[in-house]
């Protein structure tokens, strides 16, 4: 039984995004493992220790360059990786089908981890589609996990400070949230070791997935413009307070 961790190769959140084509960005920027997926990898490495004969397998759909994120995942604790290569843009419907097919072709899942969302497309849905494709239960924004023999108890943060406690049968799909753990940032020896770990490369076409009837197509991208025009509020503290109340009352109409 394997633990699978689905990772996405995404632009660094601090990178400057430059739009090139109508719906493409300049990709000559730093890409890394989607931050929520780092929590997923870390949790997978933690629970691996609880069971014998269990491997952590990182799975990614992406371009050839996504191998770098799989190497990072292996430096953080994954034993091996599968890269499903494609140069074409993939929406979450196609991505979930590809991940499900690659996992089923590889072995028997115990727990499948994902991040709760990716910081590039911010779709918030691949984990649900993956679970539906595999006929498994799914929990999102998981912030605590206890594994037992045939079930897992998970805590999900629905709203800040509102925690749903779930009991789920395994296999299950669990989408990691930030509160789950502190990521295992790799040491130099971890990175060296990860270079020797195997990455199985397959193409999306080899998976022979039926083309989905439904989809989401990005037509255009445009930069988000900040159109604020800051105006000072000045005077005594009491005068400023009155001005703020006036804005709340007459302009924003919230009080």
């Amino acid at each position: 039984m394997n633990i699978y961790v689905c990772v996405k190769h995404v632009p660094d959140s601090a990178a400057t995004i430059t739009i090139e084509g109508p719906n493409t960005i300049n990709e000559k920027i730093t890409f890394l493992v989607n931050p929520y997926d780092e929590h997923a990898i870390t949790e997978a490495a933690r629970i691996k220790a609880l069971k014998t004969d269990t491997q952590v397998v990182a799975v990614c759909l992406g371009k050839a360059a996504a191998e770098n994120s799989l190497r990072s995942a292996m430096a953080m604790g994954a034993d091996r990786a599968i890269l499903i290569e494609t140069d074409k843009p993939a929406d979450s419907i196609l991505t979930a089908r590809a991940l499900a097919a690659a996992i089923l072709a590889d072995g028997e899942p115990w727990i499948i981890f994902t991040g709760k969302e990716s910081i590039d497309s911010e779709g918030m849905q691949t984990q649900f589609r993956l679970a539906a494709n595999l006929g498994l239960p799914v929990a999102t924004n998981v912030v605590k996990l206890d594994v037992e023999e045939k079930t897992v108890t998970v805590e999900c943060e629905r709203d800040p400070g509102t925690i749903d406690v779930l009991r789920m049968a395994v296999p299950a799909v669990l989408a990691a949230g930030k509160g789950l753990n502190t990521p295992n940032y790799p040491t130099f020896p971890d990175i060296v070791k990860s270079r020797k770990k195997p990455v199985k490369k397959i193409t999306l076409d080899e998976l022979d997935i039926k083309t989905p009837a439904a989809g989401m197509r990005i037509d255009t991208l445009e930069p988000a413009v900040e159109s604020r025009n800051p105006k000072p509020l000045s005077g005594s503290a009491a005068e400023i307070a009155e001005r703020i109340v006036d804005i709340l009352k007459n302009e924003a109409k919230v009080i």
């Binding site: 959140s13 601090a14 995004i17 739009i19 979450s92 419907i93 979930a96 910081i119 590039d120 911010e122 779709g123 918030m124 849905q125 649900f128 589609r129 679970a131 539906a132 239960p137 799914v138 108890t153 709203d159 800040p160 400070g161 509102t162 925690i163 749903d164 406690v165 779930l166 789920m168 049968a169 930030k178 509160g179 989905p212 439904a214 989809g215 989401m216 197509r217 990005i218 037509d219 255009t220 991208l221 445009e222 930069p223 988000a224 900040e226 604020r228 025009n229 800051p230 105006k231 000072p232 509020l233 503290a237 400023i240 307070a241 009155e242 703020i244 709340l248 924003a252 919230v254 009080i255």
Partner: protein, 316 residues
Amino acid sequence: MRSIGLLIELKNGQVKDTNFGMATAVHAQDREIVALMVDTSVDTAKSSLETHGVTRIINIKTGCSGWNPSLQADAVAAAMEAFAIDSLVGLTSPTGRELLPRIAAKLDAPLIMDCLAIDPEARRVKTSQYSGKTIATITLNGNHFIYGLRPNAVPAVKQPANADIVDFEWAATPEDGYQVIETRMEEGGGQFLAEADIIISGGRGMKSGENFSLLDDCARHMGAAIGASRVAVDNGWVPYAMQVGQTGVKVNPKVYIAVGISGSIQHFAGMKTAKTIIAINTDENAAIMANCDYYVVGDLFEILPELEKALARAVS
């Protein structure tokens, strides 16, 4: 007539204001707007929904009580099939983040969360990507279409209509291997920060956790939720549940008051969509001062007590 479904959310038994923006976002002369409500009392909701153009309310009864997103998503998908509703709009709220993707996965339907605008005719939306740095225009293709609207992205406009109520009894079969045991409230929780209309947040300038009571005093008068920057959370002044930003909660309030917050890129990623941003900071060169609507160069310890008094007078 063409119809579009709205997944309605209640708060304390009332239809949350953010729901009405959904009705406005998809309103058209020749479109029936159908409110879908799961296991709630529709009678109290009827008049406010009618005020905003809802022409039909489907009262979905699962026979179960309590929060179970898997079961509720199944019930909504079943109602959509039963009433031939091919398009559904919900909120990108904590509830919507659980229900909408489950409905979309069940129907194998396209879904875009956090929409800023929705064109149900063209099945085209605008949404932000790359931490809000770009706006994408996306076309959906399929047999069903699911949209998650960003709360407060579309201001509600009144549109009087008359609605009939239709009951939809749906025999729930809970999903195998998925059970909600309990829902627990933690420290700093229950504020519904992600959906608040007004948020007042404190950062490094607050100097201590005790000083957050100054924000609390103001928040009480205006019904605001209280947020914090990462610095305030990392210093242990307030719980993580209050953190606004890239790695905390993303909020879309009508008014965001940033008190003693410098405004890092990561903080902005969580609140840049606020309609009006008011910044209070002693440092006139703080990043937030150049990226807000109103700024005050001043000492928060002088301004907050005055603001509390002024608010108390204004709302009394």
